[in-house]
């Protein structure tokens, strides 16, 4: 039976959040920092998964949405002297607006053409960052200093350079996005998105404006990826053009495929897995990419639908 009680589903996901919360107090310093980074980037993967996993739209340009958030928030702080909360909102707004414009243009295509069009737009975005190096810092990037990364709340202040504050901020963003995507894919809208992935023509003949639904999904995906980028800039204090390069468009695809496309927790698992395999193997040898490659091949052989995708197929049919 595919039906699971909503209580069970929410209990699982809140349990994961609670586990991550507890880890803050257990993890050694180095891993605490790594986990904060992984959670911030898992948000990027979740945003990507919303479009790729659930709607079936393969974009090769999501680095532009991530870096729209990164630069939107980072430059607001660095160049305009904005506070952290306003800068975060600005970053998300930049990503959402960019996604709206790109969506209107790119959704006129589908399949391979969609991949190419999104990749080209992302390259334009990347080159614009280099072109306007006077403001963006170009390929050197910019470092946001500690004083700019303190949030003043009433009398108290939150220093985002403090490891625990940073960890908890990343966890807060991760949790909010996790629950939003969970509610979203279980909603009526989520059902329509999956229907579009399975058979767009048929979905139209059930009375759905599929282009409008896809556009909403692109904007939601872009905004989530931008939130990840904005958080990354504010938590780790560095913005650079490498985050807009094609590598950062492919990474979320890889994380999502590893963890399991169209699963809610898959993006976290994929991001976690990739980070730790790279981290552990690079400790042993300089040829760590070779070992990463072998690990990926084994994973694809034994978990063709990603870790959680295969788990769902074999054992836990109720996983959202």
């Amino acid at each position: 039976m595919k039906d699971a009680s909503p209580a069970k589903i929410y209990a699982l996901h809140i349990g994961v959040i609670a586990l991550l919360f507890a880890l803050n107090f257990v993890l050694p310093d180095y891993h605490q920092g790594l986990f904060a980074r992984i959670m911030a980037l898992a948000v990027f993967a979740m945003g990507y998964n919303l479009l790729f996993g659930y709607v079936g739209l393969l974009s090769l340009g999501h680095a532009m949405f991530f870096s729209a958030g990164l630069y939107g928030a980072g430059l607001a702080v660095y160049q305009l002297g904005w506070g952290v909360p306003e800068a975060f909102v600005a970053g998300v707004a930049c990503g959402a607006l960019l996604a709206l414009v790109i969506g209107l243009l790119a959704l006129r295509t589908s399949g391979v053409a969609f991949m190419i069009v999104t990749m080209m737009f992302a390259q334009v975005f990347y080159l614009l960052i280099l072109y306007f190096a006077a403001w963006t810092g170009g390929d050197q990037g910019l470092v946001i200093q500690q004083p700019s990364r303190i949030i003043a709340i009433g009398g108290a202040s939150l220093d985002l350079t403090n490891p625990t504050v940073r960890y908890m901020s990343a966890l807060a963003l991760f949790s909010v996005v996790l629950l939003i995507t969970l509610v979203l894919v279980r909603s009526r809208f989520g059902r329509v998105l999956v229907a579009i992935r399975e058979n767009e023509e048929r979905t139209k003949m059930l009375g759905y404006d599929t282009v409008a639904n896809k556009l909403v999904a692109v904007v939601a995906s872009g905004a989530i990826c931008a939130a990840s980028g904005a958080a990354y800039a504010l938590l780790f204090g560095y913005i650079g053009s490498s985050f807009a390069s094609v590598q950062y468009s492919i990474l979320p695809l890889l994380w999502v495929l590893l963890g399991g496309a169209a699963t809610i927790l898959g993006p976290l698992i994929g991001t976690l897995f990739m980070y730790y395999v790279t981290d552990i193997t690079s400790g042993f040898t300089s040829a760590y990419l070779l070992i990463v490659g072998v690990a990926l091949i084994l994973l694809v052989l034994f978990f063709p639908k990603g870790v959680l995708g295969s788990v769902r197929q074999r054992w836990l049919g109720w996983l959202p």
């Binding site: 059902r191 329509v192 229907a195 399975e198 979905t203 003949m205 759905y208 404006d209 599929t210």
Partner: protein, 241 residues
């Protein structure tokens, strides 16, 4: 007043006139069958009505409104539902989710009230699929997939339900149930069906329209069509030879 009329409706594919200047009218509440030899333009004609393809020329009026250039999804919201000739249920989704899609559409449009779940189960019960709600549609038997297709059409609360060869691939026992189902549907909706199974057509249809080479060859009650010599030549075969 007719529910649906077409005037000079045509569709060309290159040099082929698949539908050629068709004037057609459908009265509310009737069951109309469209018959004709393969390649007569039947499926193209109903695809024009549903909006899946655009006409080359001509006009379509539904319930007094010109819908000639209206996109398909908007026609569905007006109450024009189309079930596919080739079964195209969502194979990876459960029967429940397949029917939930049209049910939530009518809820959003305000054309029905209540919960998604009760609407879905009602449609599944009417088609006898309620005990298979949790089964992925792709794992249902072919006959059940056809029924699921009908359940999805029904759940759209159509005013005009277009069925493209609904009994194709069904067993005889399933066909009897199907005839009962269509009569049931026709109490609330107008039904237009393309059908090759002549006993089904003769049992169900109030009127029959015969297509040949993209044009209407004849139209009338089942008795009139059975007696029409031209139709017999074109389609029914040499029954008078």
């Amino acid at each position: 007043m007719p529910l649906l009329t077409t005037k000079g409706l045509s569709r060309r594919f290159g040099g082929l006139r698949a539908v050629d200047g068709v004037d057609f009218a459908l009265m509310p509440g009737e069951i109309r069958a469209i018959i004709g030899p393969n390649g007569a333009g039947k499926t193209t004609f109903v695809s024009l009505l549903s909006g899946r393809i655009r006409p080359s020329s001509g006009m379509i009026v539904f319930d007094g409104a010109d819908i000639t250039t209206m996109p398909a999804y908007k026609r569905v919201r007006l109450g024009v539902a189309y079930t596919f000739q080739i079964t195209s249920v969502f194979a990876n989704l459960t029967a429940y989710d397949n029917v939930a899609l049209p049910v939530q559409r009518t809820l959003t449009d305000g054309r029905s009230k209540g919960q998604v779940r009760s609407g879905v189960m009602a449609a599944l019960e009417r088609t006898g699929l309620a005990d298979r709600a949790g089964t992925p549609a792709g794992q249902l038997s072919y006959g059940h997939q056809r029924l699921l297709e009908v359940a999805m059409g029904l759940a759209l609360r159509p005013r005009l339900l277009i069925l493209d060869e609904p009994t194709q691939g069904l067993a005889d026992s399933e066909i009897d149930n199907f005839v009962l189902l269509v009569r049931e549907i026709a109490k609330h909706a107008t039904v237009l069906l393309i059908e090759h199974n002549m006993p089904v057509v003769m049992q169900l249809a109030d009127r029959i329209t015969v297509f040949n080479s993209g044009k209407i060859l004849a139209e009338g009650t089942p008795e009139q069509i059975r007696a029409n010599a031209e139709v017999q030549d074109a389609y029914l075969g040499a029954t008078h030879g």
